[in-house]
């Protein structure tokens, strides 16, 4: 379709450049829009010429800027997780929310909150990694025990089953320890309440996760041709898979511990990215990150706008965008096939 784009490095760079500009504009819009609209010039001043006596500067520095940045990183991480999952499994429906990974992270968060209420933010992030890990391991176990491997439909059903099981267990624990409100937040997903600490957590795990993703991106392009081909070309497929899973755990875990279970970004964005710039994962990973960031920043603005002054869970917004896309992919699915 866009083959002229996929063959020209120059056009790809232009797309990256344009996306960055769009992202910058949306961040500016996200920061200036809110209960009190703040003019963009004030936003500029608050960032580069901070005056702590002005309320509007305080609002921007303490509330809106961290929120917008958290949206950027969370969106990017979820999109990259999805891209890595789809690249590793060659399964078009693979993504953090469909596979129940986000539910796993939320489950671990509830367990930790119940038994160690004094847990620090850092501890919660670790728990979130572990929970994401549990879900991934469960899915891969189902895949390796079943004779036909993980077909798209089996992956989706396994994700539904594991997601339901983990979220049901979370509900029971939350009921017992009176954590329903926190659980409800993690399940619906939202960026309200993000501060600079959450940004620091996102940044640390993000840098590591993104780096690994970029390192294995070239190998993933080869892996996409089929495991036998990749092995024949001298790729260590097991090592790539382990590093890929590590990336997914770091990125999804960090995203869920900060913003809860936001669905469908990890599903849609990698497809869009591959559709536009092709299957070279050295491009897919960074461009997915940019697209994911843009989508979540915009969704977050919409979630604050449609029912102002109340916030709609941002997960509901991304689902409404994601469901038609999922249906489109589902219509193309055949028994056992990969595409």
């Amino acid at each position: 379709m866009f083959s002229f784009i996929q063959h020209s490095k120059f056009i790809k760079l232009i797309i990256v450049f344009l996306t960055i500009i769009a992202l910058g504009i949306s961040i500016g819009f996200s920061v200036s829009f809110g209960a009190a609209d703040i003019h963009l010039s004030v936003v500029w001043q608050a960032v580069f010429n901070f005056n702590e006596n002005l309320t509007s500067h305080q609002v921007i520095q303490e509330l809106r800027l961290p929120r917008a940045l958290a949206a950027v990183m969370t969106g990017a991480f979820l999109a990259v997780s999805g891209a890595v999952m789809q690249g590793l499994t060659r399964n078009p429906l693979a993504s953090p929310s469909i596979m129940g990974v986000t539910h796993g992270a939320a489950f671990a968060l509830v367990v930790v909150m119940a038994f160690y209420p004094a847990v620090s933010n850092f501890g919660m992030t670790i728990a979130s990694f572990a929970g994401a890990g549990i879900a991934v391991i469960l899915i891969f176990m189902i895949g390796s025990f079943s004779p036909g491997g993980l077909t798209p439909v089996k992956l989706a059903l396994a994700g539904v089953a594991i997601g339901t099981l983990l979220s049901s267990l979370s509900s029971v624990i939350a009921l017992h320890f009176q954590l329903e409100k926190q659980l409800g937040f993690w399940m619906a997903g939202g960026l309200a309440g993000t501060d600079w600490t959450s940004n620091r957590i996102l940044l640390i795990s993000g840098v590591i996760g993104m780096l690994i993703a970029l390192i294995i991106s070239k190998s993933m392009t080869v892996l996409n041709l089929g495991e036998e081909v990749a092995a024949g070309l001298g790729q260590n497929t097991i090592l790539i898979k382990i590093m890929g899973i590590l990336t997914v755990l770091l990125l999804t875990g960090a995203a869920v511990s900060v913003a809860g279970a936001i669905g469908f970004i990890g599903l849609i964005i990698p497809h869009m990215t591959r559709f536009i710039i092709g299957t070279d994962y050295r491009w897919v990973i960074p461009v997915s990150a940019l697209f994911g960031a843009l989508l979540l920043v915009l969704s977050d603005v919409v979630s604050r706008m449609i029912n102002a002054p109340y916030e709609t869970p941002v997960g509901a917004i991304t689902s409404i965008l994601g469901v038609p896309f999922f249906l489109y992919l589902a219509r193309g699915a055949k028994r056992g096939g990969n595409e």
Binding site: S146, K154, T164, V172, S319
Partner: protein
């Protein structure tokens, strides 16, 4: 029907009935106020204290009967859906039919409930749920249609529809008053805590009409299970039978969901266990699934009610925890 199998079925049905009766007395006796089995019998015979009579007749009895009926409805709905889609993993919950019904009920709570008296609303709510369930089923059928309905596509489209209705619900719920919001939330996780006799009366006719009808259609279902080609070859008008049976399955799911909330996975797991015990013939699987579904829901409700007293775990959550491991096992086995 050969006589050996008939005898085996009679035995299993007798066992399930016995378990249901035992469960019935356990459930009647347990709760915030404990009542011993002798006292339960005394009270049922009309010799109990006022407090015992109130607890039993107004709270526990309708709840148990409702649980039984909902379990029957969902299990039979699952049996029919699995046969007509020739898909072992079809179920009203996974296909999004329950969430469709849920969406309609929440719309009803939001817009109409305050404008009518409560008794009337108990009878109207199942109709709304039915409309929502039918709408969801139609949507799935149309979206999965691509020169015929492929079972795999049906399930995937169902999962998508499910997610879509859930998101729409999340947005709608925020616009509700706190009281309506609570009602909707509890209801969506599958709950029968506010059971009363009116609900029982509202659900009963659906079960009494459609379950026997499905049983009477057993032979058609048996043939459908063999696949469209065989069914057509044997002279069965596949598509029209499929549509009628689909409507029955959706009606049973919709009515059950209206009474008990969105309880998922029960309709999937129970028919599997029934088939494993007695084989694929619907003359056997429908009655056994019905009883097992009723029993499973009674047990789940009792667990949910008593595990964390005084807090109640919504029955849908207990059902999910009990049945998803079996579902995962089925997934692993499935080729």
């Amino acid at each position: 029907m050969n006589t050996r199998k008939m005898r085996r079925m009679t035995g299993i049905i007798a066992l399930l009935m016995l378990l249901i009766v035992v469960m019935f007395f356990i459930t009647l006796g347990t709760g915030v106020v404990n009542i011993s089995p002798q006292e339960v019998i005394q009270t049922l015979l009309g010799n109990g204290t006022d407090q015992q009579e109130l607890v039993l007749f107004e709270f526990r009895l309708p709840r148990i009967i409702l649980a039984l009926l909902i379990g029957i409805g969902l299990a039979v709905s699952g049996v029919i859906l699995q046969s007509i889609t020739q898909n072992d993993l079809a179920e009203p919950g996974i296909l999004g039919i329950n969430t469709g019904a849920g969406f309609a009920v929440v719309l009803f709570i939001f817009f109409l409930q305050d404008s009518m008296n409560s008794v009337l609303s108990f009878f109207i709510m199942p109709l709304f749920a039915l409309a929502g369930a039918l709408f969801a089923a139609l949507l799935i059928y149309v979206l999965a249609w691509k020169k015929g309905v492929n079972p795999i596509r049906l399930v995937l489209v169902g999962i998508g529809i499910n997610a879509g209705f859930s998101a729409a619900l999340a947005i709608l719920q925020l616009k509700m008053s706190p009281q309506d919001f609570r009602q909707a939330t509890v209801w969506l996780s599958g709950d029968i805590w506010n059971a009363n006799w009116t609900f029982v009366l509202a659900l009963l006719p659906w079960i009494l009409i459609f379950v026997p009808y499905a049983l009477q259609k057993s032979n058609t279902l048996n043939i459908m299970n063999l696949g469209d080609d065989v069914a057509g070859g044997l002279g069965s008008s596949v598509e029209s039978d499929r549509r009628i049976l689909l409507i029955i399955a959706v009606a049973l799911a919709g009515a059950s969901v209206a009474a008990g909330g969105a309880i998922a996975f029960l309709g999937l797991v129970v028919p599997h266990i029934a088939r494993r015990i007695i084989g694929p013939l619907h003359q056997y699987t429908i009655p056994i699934s019905a009883l097992m579904g009723g029993l499973l829901l009674m047990v789940s409700d009792t667990i949910g009610k008593n595990l964390l007293t005084p807090m109640e775990i919504p029955v849908g959550i207990v059902v999910a925890i009990l049945s998803t491991p079996y579902f995962i096992y089925l997934l692993i086995k499935e080729k």
